[in-house]
């Protein structure tokens, strides 16, 4: 036996194959599905299934039965509401665009669920993320991009601590999605061809503004003004939680050339719009920064920075300002920078760290 490993299972094909692979490698696998999203309001019409739906749990349970390992459902709804949904709502109220998946990894999977792993005597925790953890000759572990660049999810994992890297397994890091599906079929898993989940699991209808209104209730932002860079009012909007920096559609303002959201001023309720060229940033200030290599602190380091999950990456210079903040200067004028989103620093395939975007550094 290689030790006991708690595998976080969603019922999807990735985490199912991850669990199956570890089982085949001789680990003492314990499968766990997390109940995270709150119940839909009583009496509401049955909505599109979320990733925590009963059917998904049944898929995960079938995999556990087929591969002969124990499986449990754990109820982490309260922690998820307090630490992930609460943050999601607060960020929108502050005029920013949160990334709850990063928060969920940091607060739930690698923190809350790790406590549960220790409670059941597990040595490791594993997920179906596409990312790799490599070990140096001197034992230091590095977080690396997945082999399959199209599926790479290392962006969502930058907040992991070094201790967490030493007790985490990503069995899919060297596999392509096609290989994972083929493996699932070979293992006879019935979810082999299940479609990917794309949306945020607790907002399955993708209507984030409606979700924020329902959760924030009396704290929901009031309607406000749409203004240009000189402060001229161009129109009205229903509340800052409807907007994201860089957004073009849905402004409801007629103009000769396309207008984009440039800045969201939550305090005054103003949404500032401008031409595309006005959005370009020289860099950004990041907060809640996690550096996986502490030797990087205090130096100027050339990195590649990703400012959104699907962003191809930009060459930049990283300088850690203090314990938790960093300045990133793009090598050339960059695209719109969206406060609240994660920015992740790479050197080649290695994740050096990351943080959350506090603000853009203007041109």
């Amino acid at each position: 036996m290689n030790g006991r490993v708690l595998v976080a299972m969603s019922g999807g094909v990735d985490s199912s194959v991850a669990a199956a692979i570890l089982r085949e490698r001789g680990y003492d696998v314990v499968g766990v599905a997390m109940r995270l999203a709150p119940e839909p309001p009583a009496g509401s019409i049955r909505r599109k299934a979320t990733c925590c739906s009963h059917d998904d749990f049944e898929d995960a349970r079938r995999v556990a039965e087929r591969m002969d390992f124990p499986f449990y459902i754990v109820d982490l709804r309260e922690d998820f509401a307090a630490r992930v949904i609460g943050n999601f709502v607060d960020e929108y109220l502050a005029g920013r665009t949160p990334n709850p998946c990063v928060m969920c990894n940091r607060e739930i999977k690698f923190d809350r669920l790790w406590s549960r792993a220790m409670a059941i005597g597990a040595d490791f925790i594993a997920t179906g993320h596409y990312a790799r953890i490599e070990q140096d000759g001197d034992g230091r572990r590095r977080l690396m991009r997945a082999r399959d660049a199209a599926k790479d999810q290392s962006y969502f994992l930058f907040a992991m601590g070094r201790d967490e890297l030493s007790r985490t397994l990503f069995p899919l890091g060297a596999m392509s999605k096609a290989e994972v599906r083929a493996r699932a079929r070979a293992l006879g898993l019935r979810n082999a061809d299940k479609p990917e989940s794309q949306e945020i699991c607790f907002v399955p209808d993708r209507d984030y503004a409606a979700f924020v209104r329902r959760a924030a209730q009396s704290r929901t932002p009031a309607p406000g003004r749409i203004v240009d860079s000189d402060g001229r009012e161009l129109g009205r909007h229903p509340g800052v939680h409807h907007f994201t920096v860089g957004q073009r559609r849905g402004l409801g303002v007629a103009s000769g050339e396309p207008l984009y959201v440039r800045e969201i001023r939550a305090a005054s309720g103003d949404v500032v719009v401008g031409r595309k060229s006005e959005l370009n940033a020289r860099g950004l200030i990041a907060e809640q920064v996690n550096l996986l290599d502490p030797e990087l602190a205090g130096r100027e380091i050339p990195v590649e920075v990703k400012i959104r999950y699907r962003h191809p990456g930009l060459p930049a210079t990283l300088r850690a300002l203090d314990g938790t903040r960093a300045e990133v200067r793009f090598a050339s004028a960059g695209p719109a920078v969206t406060p609240g989103q994660a920015c992740v620093f790479y050197r080649g395939d290695e994740v050096l760290g990351g943080g959350f975007i506090a603000r853009a550094i203007a041109e």
Partner: protein, 374 residues
């Protein structure tokens, strides 16, 4: 039961010889099950189990109730009682849910005082499913008799764990479950005193004296009979053996786990279940960890999709939601041995220490979001 599944294809309602043989088997089972309750065979209606018996008792008595519009029950009943009561409440019945004391006992005096000429039905669990408290029902039976109200006891948790006699209990209806006494699942019974008015739920045939249409579950009834025979012959000896094992386990755990609490009375209880509040841990977590070490426990209620709600019984008994979430039930059965108890005791103490150290209960920083989204 296996012979019956293999050989007896006869329908007990048919006139041919295999039907007559089947009918004889069914009536033998009825006699044996009746004997366990000190009842006459013709008062036993076979059902699909405890839940159906409770539904038949409650809906059946309510439909036959005439102008009476009140039902007396308690806050700690099984969901197969609570759900029919909620349904009747939505249809205009007034439901009185008596609160238990801290040990899960219903005050019989208060219950009796709530019974008047407008009460159609009193429905109570004789033994609480979660904490094992035995209710004192004699004054309630007396009040029900005087008010001419129907008195139903849910004895699914009581039969096989204590002697039952429907005449000394003074009830009109009594629920029992086959699998709770070691028989097969899919069979149960409702004792229905002869003069008691109960409307059937399943219509369409004369089976079970018109109380439940449909071809009887003969293999189930035969298995039920075998379990009833075993209960009748070994109840006394097994009850005291299990009581001493449960006490030994409890004493050991009270010594090994500071702050451990037994939920339910120390004395007036059936001995097979210990409901324990484990300090500083989540029941869900302890349950998982114990299961992986070979000790099976259970929790208040967890739905199929894993949402854990604090036990309504413990909350009604005055426990906080957090204490209720830290509670597990350890059940002993007729097969439980001394060695298993020794193993369970050592394992529970060791695993509790690990869980408490690894995953202490922390108050979540509740942003209020969980509440508003509910």
């Amino acid at each position: 039961m296996v012979r019956c599944l293999e050989k007896e294809r006869g329908n007990p309602a048919s006139a041919h010889r295999s039907g007559q043989r089947a009918r004889r088997e069914l009536e033998r089972a009825r006699e044996r099950v009746a004997g366990l309750l000190g009842a006459r065979p013709e008062t036993i209606v076979f059902t699909s189990g405890g839940a159906e018996s409770n539904n038949l008792a409650i809906f059946g008595a309510a439909r036959a109730a005439g102008s009476r519009r009140r039902i007396v029950s308690s806050a700690i009943e099984h969901s197969s009682v609570l759900a029919p009561l909620a349904d009747l409440e939505a249809r205009g019945f007034e439901v009185v849910r008596l609160a238990p004391d801290r040990d899960g006992r219903i005050d019989a005096g208060k219950a009796a005082a709530a019974i008047d000429d407008n009460v159609a039905l009193i429905t109570l669990g004789l033994v609480n499913a979660e904490v094992g408290a035995i209710q004192q029902v004699a004054p309630i039976a007396e009040a029900a008799r005087r008010a001419r109200a129907v008195f139903h006891l849910d004895a699914a948790q009581a039969v096989g764990r204590m002697p039952i006699d429907v005449r000394s209990l003074g009830c009109d209806l009594l629920t029992m479950s086959g699998h709770k006494i070691g028989g097969p699942s899919g069979i149960g019974a409702l004792y229905c005193a002869q003069e008691t008015q109960v409307a059937p739920l399943i219509l369409g045939g004369p089976q079970e004296r018109g109380m439940r249409a449909g071809t009887p579950n003969l293999p189930g009834a035969v298995g039920f009979r075998a379990a009833a025979e075993e209960v009748a012959s070994a109840l006394h000896a097994e009850t005291s053996r299990i009581a001493s094992l449960a006490n030994a386990l409890l004493e050991f755990l009270l010594g090994a786990i500071p702050g451990l609490e037994l939920n339910g009375p120390r004395l007036e209880r059936v001995p097979n279940t210990l409901n324990l509040t484990f300090p500083g841990v989540l029941g869900e977590s302890l349950l998982m960890a114990l299961d992986l070490e070979g000790v099976e426990a259970s929790m208040g209620s967890a739905c199929a999709a894993g949402a854990v709600e604090p036990s309504h019984v413990l909350v009604a008994m005055g426990r906080t939601a957090s204490a209720a979430r830290s509670s597990l039930r350890i059940s002993l059965g007729w097969s439980t041995t001394d060695e298993e108890i020794a193993f369970a005791a050592a394992t529970i103490a060791r695993v509790w220490r690990r869980v408490a150290a690894a995953e202490p209960i922390t108050e979540t920083r509740d942003s209020g979001v969980a509440e508003t989204l509910r």
